[in-house]
């Protein structure tokens, strides 16, 4: 019997199901976007910049985002590294503490903050910034922890110190460059968090970007929707760009896919090594 080249069917028919599910999901998610876009019209994108309060609100949010990111990373990166290296028994505790901001939702947190904060701090916008750091901690910890696990922190540090590097050099030249992706993903998560945070800002009576959107809706609904879409698109583009860049970099260092979003508290490693 002559061997023929037979076209073989793929064994799983679930390939079809996959597309059906994704199609339905896609429609469900894209439809409101599409209709919102239709509602807002494209002209709102250009004119939204000139609306009263837009610039100030966006600027406030941007400032808070930058400040929150810097402070969060400045605190979380050394602390996480330190705990991983020197106090491994505290890892559980650290994980637990960073979960607390999820258990104490922003709405309850702002309740306590407004009660406890001294007046001079309460009147300043930086109170929000400081509290945003607390909200950002779970995400920052997850991202940094995943990054540390993927690079085998202990071995790298020991190698560096055996070659004569002090801890500052190790941190700067060895660890941070290898944590690039983790830091990037942490930054993006924090920025997205701050730009979308409404609860604490509105109740603290500061007009950040999301607060402005809601207030402005009373005047001009189209503009509000336009601004929301604008913010959504920009975040989306940035996130995709970061993910693609991160994936390319990770592939070069042989680490496969980049996982940008880590929200779980499971013990499974998210980073691919």
């Amino acid at each position: 019997m002559a061997p023929l080249t037979r076209p073989r069917r793929p064994r799983r028919e679930s390939g079809i199901w996959r597309w059906v599910i994704l199609l339905i999901a896609g429609v469900y998610f894209i439809l409101p976007l599409a209709t919102a876009q239709r509602f807002a019209g494209f002209s709102s994108f250009s004119s939204v910049f000139t609306q009263p309060g837009f610039g100030a609100a966006l600027w406030l949010s941007a400032q808070l985002a930058i400040a929150t990111t810097l402070i969060t990373l400045a605190i979380m990166v050394p602390t996480t590294i330190y705990v991983h290296l020197r106090l491994p028994r505290l890892r559980r505790l650290l994980e637990g503490i960073t979960i607390l901001p999820i258990v104490f939702p922003p709405i309850v947190l702002i309740l306590g903050v407004l009660q406890a904060a001294p007046p001079w701090l309460k009147s300043s916008q930086w109170l929000l910034g400081l509290e945003y750091v607390i909200l950002a901690m779970p995400f920052a910890y997850r991202a940094i922890d995943a990054g540390l696990r993927a690079i085998d922190l202990k071995t790298l540090t020991e190698a560096a110190s055996s070659l004569g590097a002090g801890w500052a050099t190790t941190l700067w030249r060895v660890l941070l460059p290898n944590l690039g992706t983790a830091l990037m993903s942490a930054t993006i998560l924090i920025v997205a968090l701050v730009l979308g945070e409404f609860t604490m800002a509105s109740l603290d009576l500061f007009v950040t970007f999301p607060v402005w959107i809601v207030q402005f809706d009373q005047l001009n609904a189209q503009m509000s929707v336009g601004a929301s879409l604008f913010a959504l698109y920009v975040t989306w583009v940035i996130l995709m760009a970061i993910t693609l860049a991160g994936t390319r970099q990770a592939r070069r260092t042989g680490r496969g896919e980049v996982s940008l979003f880590t929200v779980t508290t499971s013990n499974t490693t998210v980073g691919e090594s």
Partner: protein, 372 residues
């Protein structure tokens, strides 16, 4: 199926497995290139080769997890090419972590029987028997995460054998284990397989494993079978240079082949066992380290450049006149007297040798790269 499994006494009739011209490509890469292999009933055939040679692909095609682009898989003469994996009645042992984590060892072993609609009592008995066979009856109720790597693989073996498969497939089952455990498990697998008479296909990159366990070994490279033979034949009569160098260590010494079937090498004339498309003239003679004789001699033909103590033998590297390097295995007691830098005479006793066309420059590096 369940009743026949339970009621059967004595060994089931053996199953033969054949691969006929199986080809599989992944994109531009040919994982398997028209591979053909016949496995007799009750035989254990090992597929041996460096990573990427296609051995695992071949196994997975037999198992039904991959499909071949062309060619057939015949079981007892019947074409099984289109049959889904679940219906092939083969038992497979994976490299690692294949035990179901949510089930105890006993339930894992009984899973195949459950799929064949065996009742709980029958499952328990049969699974218990098999765990006994692999020496783990005291761990029947434990879960995979409570077992060591070696124990997990034994449970996996029991699970594969519980269904009395017609063919047993093993995908590098020992590579993830410690050296000592590996040797123990090797013996256990082989004795079980012989006892049950199950036709077995075993994939490995470890030649020691292949040589010690298999009835026949198929050496693969780049999707093709270079040689299929018994371990002894593979070792003493390698069909290609790749096989010669992949299995054990092989020296290549330049010599002159004469028309009368002898080759002049190392200062003497030696009969040729297998000329193998070498024409009279300059050739390479293939010699195993243990075939060479060595003695200290001030007027010798070489200098010892290094010694490696291997236990019972010591491997000496000798640089011969003419810049050829050979490795010679010498009993360690004798090697004690031979120091690095000492002059020696290396000779070849008059036994038939293998001869192959002389290798051109550069080919040596290619071969080394292929062996990995």
């Amino acid at each position: 199926m369940a009743t026949s499994v339970m009621a059967q006494a004595g060994k089931p009739a053996g199953t033969s497995v054949s691969l006929r011209d199986v080809t599989r490509a992944f994109g531009a890469v040919r994982a398997l290139d028209s591979m053909s292999l016949d496995i007799a009933p009750g035989e254990l055939v090992a597929l041996l080769g460096p990573s990427g040679c296609g051995k695992t692909t071949a196994l997975r095609i037999v198992a039904g997890f991959e499909h071949a682009d062309s060619g057939e898989i015949l079981i007892n003469g019947q074409d099984f090419t289109g049959v889904p994996a679940a219906r092939r009645d083969m038992g497979m042992v994976f490299q690692s972590y294949s035990l179901f984590p949510n089930m105890s060892a006993l339930d894992n072993v009984g899973f195949g029987l459950r799929m064949r609609k065996a009742g709980p009592a029958a499952r328990r008995t049969r699974a218990g028997e098999l765990l006994d066979m692999v020496g783990l009856s005291d761990r029947a109720r434990q879960f995979p995460h409570q077992l060591s790597g070696g124990q997990q693989q034994r449970v996996a073996l029991a699970r594969a054998l519980a269904i009395e498969p017609r063919v047993l497939l093993l995908d590098e089952p020992l590579s993830a284990l410690d050296a000592k455990v590996r040797v123990q498990l090797r013996e256990q697998i082989r004795s079980l397989q012989q006892r049950l008479g199950t036709t077995t296909l075993f994939v490995t990159h470890d030649q020691e494993e292949a040589l010690s366990m298999a009835d026949r070994v198929g050496v693969m490279r780049a999707g093709r079978l270079e040689q299929v033979a018994t371990p002894t034949e593979l070792y003493s009569r390698p069909a290609t240079a790749f096989v010669a160098e992949f299995v054990g260590t092989m020296n290549r010494v330049p010599g002159e082949l004469s028309a009368d079937g002898t080759v002049a090498v190392l200062g003497g004339g030696v009969p040729v066992a297998d000329a193998r498309d070498a024409v009279p003239g300059p050739v390479d003679v293939l010699i195993r380290p243990e075939q060479l004789a060595l003695a200290a001699a001030a007027d010798g033909n070489g200098i010892v450049t290094s010694r490696t103590f291997l236990g019972p033998v010591t491997r000496l590297t000798v640089l011969l006149d003419g810049d050829t390097e050979v490795r010679v295995d010498v009993p360690s007691s004798q090697a004690a007297a031979l120091e690095a830098g000492g002059a020696v005479r290396v000779t070849l006793p008059a036994v038939p040798v293998l001869v192959t066309p002389r290798r051109r420059a550069g080919e040596a590096a290619e071969e080394a790269a292929a062996v990995g």
